[in-house]
Every structure is written in C-alpha cells, then in structure tokens.
Assembly symmetry: C2
Homo-oligomer: 168 residues x 2
DNA sequence: CTTGGAATGTCAACAAGGCTGACATAACAT
DNA sequence: ATGTTATGTCAGCCTTGTTGACATTCCAAG
C-alpha cells in the first residue's frame, strides 16, 4: 500500500491487475504500435518499400557487417523471406553484401550511402514520435515503459535484445 | 547522481533523450510486440485463423452490438478486408450479424457462445503474458508504460482508445 | 583429398491480409 | 422521387510471410 511515487493512478490499485486493466494495456499496445509504424510507413510507401525493408535497414545499420543468418534470427523470418527483401535493397544499391573475410560462405551486410540516407530518414521520423511521447510522459514513465516491454518479450528474444542493448 | 527510484537508470539521465536511448525504445517496441502477439498466434493457428480474426473477435467482444462501420474505423482497415474476415467468422458460427433495430441498414455484431469461447481463450493467453510482465515490472512501471503508449498513438486513434477506455 | 555439413542463394507455389475500384442492394433522409 | 449511407461482394493486385526442393560454395574432419 505504501506509495511514494509522484504519479497519481500509479498506486496500489494497479496491483489488482483486473482483466479490465489488462485489456486496456492490450488495446494500448495495439493502438500504439499503429502509431509507432505510421510515420516510417508513409516514407516507405514513397520509395515502394514495406516494413520488412525498414526492419532490414534498421538492423543492418544497427550492426554493421552482420551476416544473413544473424539478421534472420533477429528478425524472426525465414531466409527466403528475408532474401527477397534483401535482394531488392541490394539491387537498388541501398545494401552491400560483401563476402566474409574469415568465412567466405558468409555475407557481411552493410548500408551504402544511399542506404544510410533512407535509414536515417526512417529512423528520424520514428524518433520524432518517440521523443514527443517520451517528453509528454516523463522520464519515470519512460523507465516503466521499457521495463514492461522488456518483461513482455519471449525469453530468447530478450537475450537478443539485451545483447544488442549497449552495442555499437 | 541522485537516485531515489528502485530502478537504476530510471532517473534524470533519461531526460537527455539521445538517439541511442530512442533506438532502444524502438527496438523494445518491436521485440515486445512480437511477444505480445506470439501466444494468441499459436492458438489462432490451430483454428486456421489469423491475427485479423483475433482483432475482430476482440473488438466485437469489447463492444457488443457494434456496427461494421465502427469496427472498420477502430481496426483501421477497409471494409473489403474486414468483410473477408467477418464472413469467415460468421460462416463458422463465431459471430452473429443482426440487422439493426433503429437503422436496418446496419448490422450489429455479436459473438456467439462459440465465438466467446475462442475470444476468452485468446484473451486469457494474452493476459497471462501481460500479467506476468506487469507483475515483474511493478505498478509504477505499468503506469508509465501506459502513459508512453498513449502518447505514442495518433491523435484520432487516441480518441478512439480513450472512448473505449472505461467500457461501455 | 574426399566427403559431410553449414551458409547462402534461388526457384516455385501458396496463403493471409492488406489495398483499390466497381457495382449491387437496401434503407434512411430530404 | 432522389440522393446518400451502410453493407456486401467480385476482381485484381501487392507485400510479406510460409514450405519444399535444389544448387553452390566452402570450411572442417576424416
């Protein structure tokens, strides 16, 4: 019952975890995810790409030189599905696939300048919204936001997420 | 340096809102949403349904007797897309579409017993995960979670969300 | 050196679930 | 009587996921 937080509504009533409260959280996730993807989606549309391209660009940018297999497991799709997306990005000169140095079977993936340009554009659009949401909610809310999201992930995915967490 | 919260990292440093921090939030959303949908997806698979069916069942259950048009705007899809899903659910006897009493052009949508059964199963699977995440993160985190999600929605969607917020 | 297996790429086929456009019907509203 | 609204439906297209099959390349173990 003891509640020190500055946050009205954050108190002991949430400990009940009624189905009603859980349902609100579920709907919030659904609607927020729509907002989360809306801005990049508009940009992607202009370029004739989809969300799958965005995800690929994001994680290649995130981990320069990552392999196809790494990307596969991070994204949670099949190689065929990823390959189609990747092929498009390579053909359009946004992504470069270099033969691995140590293991020449592998392909190390990099963004070209053109690829970085689009990635930055997409990321910035998404960050604008996140930034606004973070500012509106405040730092304590942001900490809670991330705690809950983290707890919501599958265990193995959480490992992937954490290993990327403070990466280069 | 002052840190009162139970949470190292939840303090004033988050006010900086670096691109790095925003990126972590973005990735958390991506991975968490996968977890969020994973359990219902497995159940839906057994029934030969997809996420679209889940969403329809959820919001029909949410607002008994809602019209097709209402559902359309809530879900943010076209009537053709919704109709395909709805047709399947009606054929399989999970949803009933009754001609409107006041306006006979409208169809009021209801879950049958069978529909309610599946909806409960899906909702419970999703709630189990939410409940676990909420418990792990704590009530204050949950409040923050919802604040950020709410701030992340499109303005018009937020209206829809809020109008649904405290039930009919 | 040969062979097994791993990493990757590619082809084909399919399905879900979005979309647009066009058209039909019924019912309300003026 | 006419126009508008709500709904349904058909057709066609796209993205993005799936499985299965098969080829290539190349490392590594024997």
């Amino acid at each position: 019952m003891v509640q020190r937080g500055p946050n009205p509504g954050s108190g002991e009533n949430l400990l009940f975890l009624t189905d009603e409260q859980l349902r609100k959280g579920i709907e919030a996730m659904f609607f927020a995810y729509r907002g989360f993807t809306a801005d990049p989606d508009r940009i992607l549309d202009e370029y004739g790409y989809g969300r799958a391209h965005h995800r690929a660009l994001h994680f290649i940018n995130r981990s320069h030189g990552t392999t196809v297999n790494n990307l596969l497991t991070t994204l949670g799709v099949t190689k065929q599905s990823l390959n189609r997306v990747l092929r498009g990005l390579i053909e359009d000169g946004l992504v470069e696939a270099r033969v691995g140095r140590t293991d020449r079977r592998e392909r190390n993936l990099f963004l070209t300048d053109k690829g970085q340009e689009l990635e930055r554009k997409l990321a910035e659009a998404q960050r604008v919204r996140m930034r606004a949401a973070y500012r509106a909610a405040g730092p304590q809310a942001v900490a809670g936001f991330r705690q809950v999201l983290e707890a919501m992930m599958d265990d193995d995915i959480r490992q992937t997420y954490l290993s990327l967490k403070d990466g280069r």
